[in-house]
Symmetry: C2
Subunit: 295 residues, 2 copies
């Protein structure tokens, strides 16, 4: 399987879905719509909706039925990026190769565009879908809310901010990576499994796979912030060190950080090998892609 | 009916519920928990959860079954206050008689505390409740997401910000008040009606009542910002004029603004009079309370 081609194909599909799903605004609030669209359509790998899509597909469900949840995950991911980039947080000027939301629309509109994407996301998920039982939709909403909330992505972001400039420790770094990054990757796969009505053993294996994949993803992100190329990444390199971020290269050194990413991917592959009876090629290819990724 | 006593009793109940529902955080993110608690427990009238409670009670449902949704509405209301108060928005130092979230915890933590309350709210609503059908929970989530999202409260806040310092117009002001304030009041009553399984005619009347009540609430808020007493209000007066906010006193003058509030209350009472067969005393008392409120 050519994983890069698969990812590009899926990204095109998600991009076309997203284009039709930019949340509507009233004429007076036109700038809010533009700000949401700016950040939503700035590009990105669309990894989270793709994970949901491919999970449903692998488990034999129709992935088109997961469209609203897939789009909601990308909207929520974009919300986290907009708020993370704010001057009072990471104060980043570029993201996905374009100026960040607050650079274009101002800090006030950026905060509100992030907020609005969250409610637009939950509005999408709650839309009627005759093929998905309401109880499943409620469970998916609960999964997402927990994964992002105070003990999830947002908790991770808080600890990431508090840790700036401090001596890195394994415990703190593991907390940050698990929550700030892996939680959203994990819940994307978890929601796909829920929508496909997976049994609890399958769900459990997939969640473990996703957690290892998510950790590897963040470690390679840390590595790319040191060794990546700006024009491929779409954002400046070296920003983690400049702002004293806690990262694996800072904790362990570059060589050991790379080995840690390889270990996480090996663990992900181990979980995948226990998933008998499904075509796991996409998810195996993804392991390979993440280890070698340049963006 | 002594509406002030009723409101005080209900507020005590909501406060005790809230105390037990402060979202949990992990030890590393302790400050996030403190920031959420600071703003959630800073007081406030608890009007939105009370509206849900009283709607369910009036319609013959057990209001205790609406507890999670009631708390979610207060969490989301608190989220809007935290973000509205940010330096990049209204830059307010006091709210409900105590320093605003960002004054105590910093702007970064305040943004994230607001964000976290939203996800904590949706997590609460999605919790299993055997007496509420999953389809009703999905509908309630959809109602809330739409009422707050880009065409709701957040759209209203965007237009409120954009309108600062501009010549007030009836259209713009009506948009701001309808969305920034009335939408959340309306959806509190709407969710109560949904949870009580109200028919569509009752729902419709209640929504109209709620919209007029919400508009009156915001007009009296504007009036109190001119004529209120700081120690009763818990925030400085005169801030609307200082920041060039679009308000009814600014558009119409004080006397006509007071008449407009009376008109909205008269319209709310008219809708209430069409609601036959229910004990509407609480909702009638509320009309009176809002016209005479000092905080």
């Amino acid at each position: 399987m050519d994983i890069r081609k698969e990812l590009a194909d899926r990204k095109s599909l998600v991009d076309s879905w997203l284009k039709d799903a930019i949340p509507n605004v009233d004429p007076y609030a036109e700038i809010l719509g533009k700000a949401m669209e700016h950040s939503l359509m700035a590009g990105g790998k669309r990894l989270r909706p793709i994970l949901l899509y491919e999970t449903m597909k692998m488990l034999g469900a129709d992935p088109e039925q997961g469209k609203n949840v897939a789009l909601a995950l990308e909207m929520i991911h974009t919300f986290t990026l907009i708020h993370d980039d704010l001057p009072c947080m990471d104060d980043d000027d570029f993201r996905r190769g374009v100026p960040t939301c607050h650079k274009v629309f101002g800090e006030d509109i950026a905060v509100l565009a992030g907020d609005a994407l969250v409610f637009a996301a939950f509005s999408l998920v709650s839309q009627e879908n005759k093929t998905i039982p309401a109880a499943t939709t409620v469970a998916v909403i609960g999964d997402i809310a927990k994964a992002i909330g105070p003990r999830g992505v947002i908790g991770g972001q808080v600890v990431d901010i508090l840790s700036e400039g401090k001596q890195p420790t394994e415990d703190l770094l593991s907390y940050i990576h698990n929550h700030k990054t892996a939680d959203l990757i994990r819940v994307s796969i978890q929601c796909g499994a829920r929508l496909a009505n997976a049994d609890s053993a399958t769900m459990d294996l997939l969640e473990k796979y996703a957690t290892h994949l998510g950790l590897a993803f963040q470690i390679t992100d840390d590595i790319l912030d040191v060794e990546g190329e700006e024009d491929v990444l779409g954002k400046p390199v070296g920003s983690d060190e400049a702002s004293g971020k806690m990262t694996y290269p800072a904790l362990l050194g570059m060589q050991a950080a790379k080995e840690r990413a390889e270990d996480e991917i090996a663990n992900a592959e181990l979980e995948l090998s226990k998933l008998v009876g499904f075509d796991v090629r996409f998810f195996a290819g993804l392991c390979d892609f993440i280890l070698r990724r340049a963006y």
